[in-house]
């Protein structure tokens, strides 16, 4: 239940070595940076310089995209020590080389789009047999080509103006064609056509010949231009082949520098005597990595690294790193889902790992299905990540163990009977439907046990934090533990074993007094901690009546939660029965099938039960963990440990 110990690090050095210091912080892979100064602090200010690498990085990304290079992390140590100006020169030389090739391609592309637009218009003028150039060069006749809304086409016949319109093609909404009019009447006729929403199309000068000839010429030229594009693409390919490594190195280096420059926003600047400027970087490293971390800065002359206790600076909250073994590590996923504990709090991962695995096995006990889960966990580990895969593997194994105890193998409940007979174990396998009461009572018993353990953890955590209300007087503290334990003991002894232990002294000492302590937990804990009497937690004035009413309802809630949380564990037994019941349905269905259908029903039935029930059981246990157990002892609110990392993949091994 441990949390990794942290150290507060102060790195102080000359401004000249800031980049190198930041680079080493990143390289360490375990440095969690914090702002060096709080806003308004008089000792110094945070650096807020303009990032000179952003523009260069964008240009490099564009260069990479233009020549079809996908940036990947590349060893760029050869560029270490180069300044922004040097890197820009490298970039410029690559850009110039590529620009020469790409200019030809851009010219060809723009010519193709121009030609395609012209071809699109000419396509609508199919059947026009005169030469466009000849038509446009007429001295006394004006020609206009374009499209007229189809609804207005019949109107043309009713105009008495001096023009004629030749229609070439009609679409749903437009009629394509050209009109002719005397040069002198051009303006009036143009106005008339404009009033009918005629949209004129201006053909480029190079369009010559009739419509068919023009189309052919344009198609030929498009083909020529496409050939140029193809040749240029080959040249770009050659450029890529020749320069890919240089581009990748440049990109990786600039990306690193750009990100490390962004980190400067958390770096403080302090002035020392004689006008010299120094930087200060503040952050956290794991205590066990102190020496290794300090060693990274040995070669920097002006840089000094000092380690302090994690709570040395009140402005910085230490981050939380959960310390877990190989067996429990995957379950950090569930703990993080609820929220990390505060630094110095309790790491509940081991508790979750044990209870989750145990409960899953009980609720989903089947040797065969557990084996499938185990195998699925191995495969899922590669697809969904090591944590999800790890949990599935562990619960699969637990399911196999409990499946063996239940004698269940893919729904066959008698298949393991001979094995146990041969071993001489007569109390196994556990026949679920024959021992229903035992299963349900055991489930509640497990629940009681887990609730009591949760209370014990809470007491430990309370004492650790010197929170006496939590540890002694709270409903999950010592008083709560005595009350809950005594009531359970009394009920079990009286009902199950017929032992009359609920005597007056037992009730007064172990039930009534703890209840009074819980009722008065606020004034009692204040008396212990501050040696003074107060009814409210924050010392605000409160009447005795108000105190009684408030605590009466809270007591009611506490008592109700003891009962409901205990009964909630009935679901563990319920799912044991439900799992066996569902498999019984599969077996019944199978009985009614032919020889071919039976294996199909068996496989589909098992897959269905595994998918549906596996999912429900997983969710129900999370619910039990979070509501019935975590709520008794766990305080989230911790800060995640986020080591700075400037590599492409930001996953950090913890």
């Amino acid at each position: 239940m441990a949390i990794e110990k942290m150290s507060l690090v102060n790195i102080l050095g000359s401004m000249d070595e800031l980049d190198a210091a930041l680079e080493r912080c990143c390289r360490s892979g375990g440095f969690h940076i914090e702002p060096a100064f709080s806003p308004g602090e008089a000792r110094g200010r945070l650096l807020n310089d303009k990032n000179c690498y952003t523009a260069l990085l964008k240009r490099t990304a564009k260069l990479a995209s233009d020549c079809g290079v996908t940036p990947v992390e590349t060893d760029c140590r050869s560029l270490e020590g180069e300044r922004a100006e040097d890197l820009e020169k490298r970039l410029e030389s690559l850009e110039q080389e590529l620009d020469v090739i790409r200019q030809t391609m851009q010219d060809a592309d723009s010519r193709i789009s121009e030609l395609t637009a012209a071809a699109k218009h000419i396509k609508h003028l199919k059947g026009m047999n005169s030469d466009f150039q000849q038509l446009f060069s007429c001295k006394h006749v004006s020609v206009r080509i374009g499209k007229l809304p189809i609804g207005n086409y019949p109107k043309l016949e009713y105009y008495n103006d001096n023009f004629f319109f030749i229609a070439f093609e009609s679409t749903k909404n437009f009629c394509w064609g050209m009109y002719f009019c005397p040069e002198d009447d051009k303006e009036r006729v143009d106005d008339l056509f404009r009033s009918m929403y005629f949209e004129r199309v201006i053909l480029p000068r190079y369009v010559s010949g009739n419509a068919d000839e023009a189309s052919k010429k344009i198609a030929d030229e498009i083909a020529q231009q496409e050939e140029i594009v193809k040749e240029t693409e080959e040249k770009v390919g050659a450029f890529r082949k020749e320069n890919e490594e240089r581009i990748q190195q440049l990109f990786s280096r600039l990306l690193f520098l750009n990100r490390s420059f962004d980190l400067r926003k958390k770096v403080g600047a302090v002035s020392s005597g004689f006008g010299a400027k120094h930087f200060i970087i503040k952050g956290f490293v794991m205590k066990k990595q102190e020496k290794e971390f300090a060693k990274l800065f040995d070669d920097l002359e002006t840089v000094d690294v000092s380690f302090l206790p994690p709570d040395a600076d009140s402005g910085c909250t230490p981050p939380t790193v959960l310390k877990n073994s190989f067996l429990t590590r995957p379950y950090t996923m569930l703990v993080e889902m609820y929220g990390l504990p505060e630094y110095g709090g309790i790491n509940p991962t081991a508790f979750v790992a044990i209870t989750y695995t145990l409960l899953f096995g009980i609720m989903f006990g089947d040797l065969g299905q557990g084996l499938v889960l185990l195998l699925a966990g191995i495969l899922l580990g590669k697809k969904l990540g090591p944590k999800a895969g790890g949990i599935v593997r562990r619960v699969g194994l637990s399911s196999m163990i409990f499946g063996t105890l239940y004698g269940s193998f893919f729904g066959y409940e008698e298949i393991l009977d001979p094995v146990f007979e041969k071993l001489g174990v007569d109390f196994l396998p556990l026949k679920v439907f024959k021992q229903t009461n035992f299963i349900l009572i055991t489930a509640v018993g497990i629940g009681i046990g887990l609730i009591l353990i949760s209370m014990l953890i809470n007491i430990y955590a309370g004492f650790k934090k010197k929170d006496y209300e939590k540890a002694i007087f709270g409903c999950n503290g010592i008083c709560g533990l005595i009350f809950y334990g005594s009531v359970i003991t009394g009920v079990v002894a009286t009902v199950m074993f017929d032992v009359k232990i609920m005597s007056a002294p037992f009730v007064i000492c172990l039930i009534v007094i703890p209840l009074i302590c819980i009722f008065c937990r606020v004034p009692f804990s204040a008396a212990v901690k501050y040696k003074k009497w107060q009814l409210s937690e924050d010392g605000e004035p409160m009447t005795v009546g108000g105190f009684i009413v408030e605590n009466f309802f809270e007591m009611f809630e506490f008592l109700l939660s003891y009962v409901s949380n205990t009964m909630s564990f009935l679901r563990v037994g319920g799912f044991v029965l439900s799992h066996a019941g569902m498999m019984l349905v599969v077996m019944t269905l199978m009985d009614g099938m032919s020889a071919v259908g039976k294996p199909m029903v068996l496989v589909i039935g098992n897959l269905f039960v595994m998918a549906m029930e596996g999912m429900i059981v997983a969710i129900q246990i999370i619910r039990l963990e979070f509501y019935e157990m975590f709520s008794r002892f766990y305080d989230s609110g911790g800060k995640p440990f986020e080591p700075i990392d400037l590599s492409f993949s930001s996953q950090i091994e913890q």
Partner: protein, 344 residues
């Protein structure tokens, strides 16, 4: 013919299309556009108008053409609904085409009176040419009211127009023509209703038509009083009345001498229930009608009622969009435009 034949599918279809109508939020978004092209782009991407804008280029579209496309969309929707269960075979369901025909005739009368060459052809919506039952293009050749009448001979519009007084120059008063045509339109429509429908459905359709006549009369009477100082008698002669149906509750309104009192009367009546904070009578009346039609459309199970209500709502929607596009085009204040729009 259609008695006993379920029109529930048509009602459901109308409600489905009604669900795609522009909301106040969409009007607001449209109003925030910077140019007509951006408005066209927005409309072209909306589920309601994307079909009609399919082949158009929002960057080059003319504002007038954009408005024409909006009207075309309304007619396309109307035709699609009518063809869905062959309702177009019933005379009543030609009510929207009839309205378009009257607008075309009035456009031509205005053209003749103003003497503007070609203005009729320029303003005639292209989609009316193929949909109208009269030869609208042939009307463009008329140079006088008599020539127009000869083109319209044999149509239902000849009789009402032939009664209109013509002056010495061969021109007919526009407002007289409009009154005659609108009166004839509603009378004919009510005759169709009487013939094709019965019971509560007939009553429901008549209600919706009379409500529209009343709102038109209320607006016209207010304008005549406020801007031209017409007497009550003159107003009564200039409003739409239906044979056998007296002006009824509105008689009291037409007697009011002061336009402000007229407005007060409106605010107390069912025609002014929009509670819009504006002094523009069209906004007040049409907003009330818009609310009422929405209510009718939501509650009715009758296809003719639903279609009539829906088409009137579409007209309001187009009017709003056109106002917004004009506002965007001329850089009007968005808040002021929104205040006077006909939306609820």
């Amino acid at each position: 013919m259609l008695k006993g034949y379920s029109m529930n599918a048509t009602v459901a279809k109308i409600r489905a299309i009604h669900g795609k109508m522009f909301t106040a939020a969409q009007y607001h978004e449209l109003l925030l556009k910077g140019s007509v092209s951006e408005c066209a782009e927005y409309l072209a991407q909306s589920p309601r108008y994307k079909d009609v804008f399919r082949d158009t280029d929002p960057n080059t579209i003319h504002r007038g053409y954009l408005e024409e496309l909006l009207h075309q969309q309304m007619y396309d929707t109307y035709v699609r609904i009518c063809e869905f269960q062959q309702l177009d075979q019933v005379p009543y369901y030609r009510f929207l085409i009839g309205r378009g025909e009257i607008d075309s005739i009035l456009l031509m009368i205005n053209n003749i009176n103003s003497g503007l060459e070609n203005s009729f052809l320029v303003n005639l919506p292209g989609h009316m040419i193929k949909r109208a039952r009269i030869n609208v293009l042939e009307m463009s050749r008329a140079e006088s009211f008599d020539e127009l009448l000869s083109v319209l001979k044999g149509t239902i519009y000849y009789k009402p127009l032939s009664k209109v007084r013509v002056d010495a120059s061969g021109k007919a008063e526009y407002t007289d023509c409009e009154l005659a045509l609108r009166k004839s339109y509603f009378e004919t429509l009510l005759e169709y209703v009487d013939k094709d429908f019965n019971g509560s459905e007939q009553k429901e359709i008549e209600d919706i038509i009379y409500f529209e006549i009343d709102t038109m009369n209320i607006i016209n009477a207010y304008r005549m009083k406020k801007y031209f100082g017409y007497s009550s008698e003159r107003i009564k002669q200039s409003i739409i009345t239906i044979s056998g149906k007296p002006v009824g509750k509105l008689a009291e309104y037409f007697e009011i001498e002061d336009p402000d009192q007229m407005m007060a009367w409106i605010s107390r009546s069912r025609y002014g229930k929009s509670h819009r904070e504006t002094d523009i009578i069209e906004t007040i009346i049409v907003s009330s009608r818009y609310q009422w039609l929405n209510h009718v459309l939501a509650s009715t199970v009758s296809a003719p009622v639903a279609l009539y209500a829906f088409m009137r709502l579409c007209a309001v929607e187009i009017s709003n969009i056109v106002s917004i596009i004009e506002a965007v085009r001329y850089g009007a204040d968005a808040a002021a435009v929104e205040k006077d729009m006909l939306i609820f």
